[in-house]
Point group: C2
Chain length 199, copies 2
């Protein structure tokens, strides 16, 4: 398993620094029920706008029907690696409740899912999020209520060596350094584009 710790200009918490999104997952490694429970508890305790808690997860484990149905909604290129995950989850947003439109529902799924993937790191697992799936197919496959929108699919497993891939391009991509735009291009003071935070 590749260590791809974030290169930061000042130390950040190890849990955040070590998180990355591998595609090379061990096809034998299990994600236990306790681990899944911990991931979901982490998501559950995320903040949300006015505590509206818009996030839901459909949870499949390798070998079960839910897993197969989630896998079937993925693009071909995502299926090619994600079928090795120990668990596949669909992160959904409840966009309406009895009070009307839920504010910031998509944003809320983002907050919760970041907690979920960080708990995966804490468990010695790894998680990769995907938007390369068919939300309509997921909606129909699980007979979701109208107000529920599938937002993301999350593959959870144990990261392994890129040599699991046969294609040279896949191997190279897995080993490539992680890249981010400079801190001075994302954090502005005083005026848009004006930064006191060079990276």
């Amino acid at each position: 398993m590749k260590d791809k710790k974030a290169e930061t200009s000042i130390p950040i918490h190890d849990l955040l620094a070590r998180r990355w999104s591998p595609r090379a997952l061990d096809p034998e490694a299990e994600v236990s029920t306790d681990q899944l429970r911990a991931l979901l508890e982490a998501a559950r305790w995320a903040p949300s706008c006015g505590n509206t808690q818009p996030t839901r997860y459909l949870v499949g484990r390798r070998g079960d029907e839910t897993y197969k149905r989630i896998l079937s909604t993925l693009t071909e290129s995502n299926q090619a690696w994600a079928h090795r995950a120990g668990a596949l989850l669909v992160g959904c947003a409840v966009t309406r409740n009895e009070k009307g439109a839920v504010p910031m529902a998509e944003y809320g799924v983002g907050l919760a899912t970041e907690n979920l993937v960080l708990q995966a790191v804490a468990e010695g697992l790894a998680a990769r999020q995907m938007t390369g799936f068919d939300p309509d197919a997921a909606h129909s496959e699980f007979s979701l209520p109208d107000e529920v929108r599938p937002v993301v699919v999350i593959a959870v497993g144990v990261a392994t060596d890129a040599s699991i891939f046969t294609d040279e391009q896949d191997i190279a991509r897995e080993g490539a350094p992680r890249e981010r735009i400079a801190l001075s291009d994302i954090a502005f003071t005083d005026e848009w584009g004006n930064s006191t935070f060079p990276a």
Copy 2:
């Protein structure tokens, strides 16, 4: 400062369990440049859809003009407590780039901002996110480009005792237990609404 550790059915990482969103912030406590840098680095290394990195922050520190301008965009009820924060940030989404619409931009700001608030916990700080602000005012106040949407304001500071408030309701609210819906209501297996994860 109130400890409001999440009550989970199985342990989760302490950094996630200890995060909550206090309003009672110490009006004297500073958020240092190094701490702000660490928060922004944490956000910078968050995942995003296709690594499009849609998240930007406007960063104000107590006493500077940016802080005052951000504070002025908040609702009155948010100004009432947020003026004690050591730093105020506006989290923005870049909704278009040279390739067209940025996918999942709001979701991406959620992922990044969860990292940011967790790094605040790691720094001994606390953060509370707000949607109670005027995004149009923020847009105009900072002359944001058309494609940039202010999504959230984040107050960062040092949590303090609720006795800082004079209103009894404010004190009671700050001390109230944190609440979440049951795990069995957010995580489903097989069918929507069907859970093997009782909380």
